[in-house]
Symmetry: C2
Subunit: 197 residues, 2 copies
DNA sequence: TTGTTAATCTAGCGATGCTAGAATATGTAG
DNA sequence: CTACATATTCTAGCATCGCTAGATTAACAA
């Protein structure tokens, strides 16, 4: 039954073309430009074909978000490995997170702002989401005694700074200084992990 | 010319009815339910009348957001005055901020997530926005040497925690502990203001 | 009472997400 | 090769959205 396999392969390929197209349009023109009609036109199929792959537009956004989490996890992992100093690793990851948010605002929006139907902190949470969380936890763990709680808080701080900055509510020029403030606060915190720097 | 005054008064009243209606629908059914048709129906006028008050749907969201900022500023100011301890004031404001986000998610969304056209950090930034920022700055100033930078960072942390929590990405049950972590980090930070607690 | 201006409404445009039902390929059996 | 059955894809359309042009009505002035 090589025919069935070929069919599945072609279908999977078409699906990833849809996701890639959605991602591309979102990055170039923003998410409002990502319409089902536009996607159908770009992949050269009719609209119902798009719906044979994804139940709704939100599901497509979710698929792009999932790819984004895989990318972000890899980015953070790489940032953490640029230095042996726990403090510098923490700062590198924080900077990497915000750089990602500003370099790929549309993907970041899909991951953190738009409705996607993705489920977090559940038993069926997709691997890329866990991996991203893990990458953050890896660098903050040395500085705290409750890594999960600290990671949640660290993540919140980074996400909030990204959002306020993205919306023009805080001064873009002081991005690095805000990161430094966060990193300092973590390092000199109550549970003052390893000797700083 | 009492007639003109009455006209203006009636127009202003109708405008605030639009905003109140939008706020009410958003709180009860979410922002997607706030359509121009629905607003027009509820205030018993036709759609163009709504557009004679606001240039776009986004502008209506912005008006609700502005009211929200006034509310939030008052909430934070009140929270800060419940204690003389700078540390407890900081914690009370942080808790108040997050409580506001979860008690009025739709208004919070208008203030921080949805497109509104509101301008921050500019010369024409509306007073309520400045006041809210000031309320945060008032409680964090004792613990830092660059109040503006610290306020931006503090604000980011709070907003990020609110968003991740609202989207179900961090554990709701640990909200208070995350706040405590943030407060501790600020108090024991590099510029360790007044003797803690 | 008539004419002018301002306020309001009706009706519609161009989109959107999504879907039912027709049409067309595709693979199988006689 | 033909006829049927199945799966795939398309055409066409629904209901709804934000927004607006042009007709209609109300309010005031002469």
């Amino acid at each position: 039954m090589g025919i069935t396999e070929r069919r599945l392969r072609e279908k999977a390929e078409r699906e990833s073309r849809i996701v890639a197209t959605a991602r591309h349009i979102a990055e170039e023109e923003g998410w409002p430009a990502v319409t089902i009609r536009r996607l159908a036109q770009d992949i050269e199929y009719s609209q119902p074909v798009v719906y044979s792959h994804f139940a709704s537009r939100d599901a497509i956004v979710g698929a792009v978000a999932l790819e984004g989490f895989a990318d972000l996890a890899e980015t953070l992992r790489a940032a953490a490995h640029t230095t042996a100093s726990p403090r510098k690793a923490l700062e590198a990851v924080a900077t990497g997170f915000l750089d990602f948010a500003f370099a790929r605002p549309a993907i970041y929006e899909a991951m953190f702002v738009l409705p996607t139907g993705l489920r977090f902190a559940k038993s069926d949470t997709p691997p890329p989401l866990r991996t991203t969380f893990g990458a953050l936890m890896a660098v903050i763990a040395p500085f705290c005694d409750d890594p999960e709680l600290a990671t949640e808080t660290f993540w919140g701080a980074l996400h909030g700074l990204a959002e306020l900055d993205r919306h023009g509510r805080i001064r873009p020029a002081f991005r690095a200084q805000r990161i430094a403030l966060v990193v300092d606060a973590i390092c000199h915190g109550p549970d003052n992990g390893p000797a700083g720097a």
